[in-house]
Amino acid sequence: MDNSKCLVSCVKAGLGYDNRAIIEDFDFDVYEGDYICVVGENGSGKSTLIKTILGLIKPVSGHVELHDTLKSGAIGYLPQQTQVQKHFPASVMEVVISGCLNSMKWRPLFGISEKKRALKNLDRMEILDLRNKCYGELSGGQQQRVLLARALCAAEKILVLDEPVTGLDPAAAAALYNILQRLNNEGMAIVMVTHDLKNIVNRAGKILHINEGGYFYGTVNGYMDSDYSKIFV
């Protein structure tokens, strides 16, 4: 594949903290338009991988390269919701526009271009009518769409999601998957940590399964034939 389309590339990387690698000899590439599900038991290193992709921690060995366009924090990130956020007094617009912070440099106020970007992404998530509502008063599924719109403000090419359907009812989860599918069809690369493999396996292009001491990375079909799939599917 064309190297310029490679957004994230890990070569023989050791991922972990304080010089202790949790995952070793890790080769992993994300290309434009990929749809990757990351599965694995708790503590296997999924969060470490995400933090490394986001540039929050450095690999303890090997290389992790990000595409030039991603370097100024331009990765859309959907973290797990915290308890604090659920009743946070903020308008939807305030939350979404905070995704534009990485393009601000030292300007203290958002300009017209940031506002346009926020409105465009609210529209993309079909929640334009909620923009003046209080974030804390929305349903779980609506809150997740707001956070997704915020992530889209930060990035055009890649979204990293950390267990996005946790706590959502099945209908809201299905709606979220449909949105992600649409974004992926538009060319957005998606890297999603999930425990909900059963409902997503048909949509994902590739699976990354991290296990203690090893990992599998490949297509869904390859995954279903491997020993790794027996644990989760």
Partner: protein, 275 residues
């Protein structure tokens, strides 16, 4: 009005007003972020640490602020970092630290002077305590706090709402957390001389708590907290002057009244919505 002019003819009351208004404003702005991050008890914890430090300073004959400001900044630093390390839960850490600091303070005091008016006024505050230095320091503090909240408003919102996302988009989260801890510490040390160690935390919590009843946007909560803090402080002081009630307690009661009114308004709003 005449009474007000008469009140302002005392230099110590003028000093108390200046320091009080500025400190209330700072405490309220910082308080919004602290309350939302579930650090409401931090004001209480830090004021006890400050009490301990002031007692030691009094016993050793050191200028009180010179010792207590660095000690309280260190304590604030430790407490706000607790969450990241997760060795001890932060609420337990605050409780443990405030009790220990109080115990140290009381013990040191009993060895030296005994409970003098000085030490007692640290507990419940005294508007006589404000010196010229306090006025200067509170002006500097409020300029720094206001500058931070005006120029870095969006980053502060991002850090308060979602630290992980803020980090990922390149906001310097440790810088903002450090600024908030240091400024909170200085606010507490300055404010507790007037409000007292037992009462200062209300300046941090009440304005944010009341504002959150009515306002549903971050900006609304921020502005309302600042305004409420200043209004409640002035109301408390005027009541205190006219009815000879303790100043710190009167300010807290003014805040409590506003909170009850706002709580009522919120209930009314939900009833109207349902009907």
């Amino acid at each position: 009005m005449e009474e007000f002019i008469q009140m302002m003819s005392y230099p110590f009351i003028v000093r108390a007003f200046i320091v009080g208004i500025l400190v209330s404003l700072c405490a309220a702005l910082l308080g919004v972020s602290l309350v939302l991050k579930q650090y409401s008890m931090i004001g209480d914890g830090l004021s006890h640490v400050s009490y301990g430090a002031l007692s030691i300073a009094a016993a050793c004959g050191i200028a009180p602020l010179k010792l207590s400001i660095p000690v309280v900044i260190a304590a604030a630093f430790i407490l706000l970092r607790m969450n990241e390390n997760g060795v001890i839960k932060s609420d337990a850490a605050i409780a443990a630290m405030s009790a220990s600091a109080l115990a140290i303070g009381v013990t040191v005091t009993s060895f030296t002077t005994g409970m003098t008016t000085d030490v007692c006024s640290y507990m419940f505050g005294s508007i006589l305590a404000m010196s010229q230095d306090d006025v200067v320091l509170s002006v500097v503090l409020s300029v720094v706090v206001l500058a931070l909240f005006i120029f870095c408003y969006h980053s502060i919102f991002a850090v308060t709402f979602d630290e992980s996302f803020a980090r990922a988009t390149g906001v310097k989260v440790p810088f903002y957390n450090t600024m908030i801890s240091v400024l909170t510490a200085v606010t507490i040390v300055l404010g507790m001389q007037m409000m007292g160690a037992m009462l200062i935390s209300s300046l941090v919590i009440f304005p944010a708590l009341s504002s959150m009843r009515i306002f549903k946007s971050f900006k609304g909560v921020m502005i309302s907290s600042g305004v409420l803090a200043v209004v409640c402080f002035c109301a408390g002081m005027i009541v205190s002057y006219n009815y000879s009630t303790p100043a710190g307690a009167s300010v807290v009661l003014a805040n409590l009244c506003v909170f009850i009114v706002f709580l009522g308004l919120q209930k009314l709003k939900t009833i109207i919505k349902v009907a």
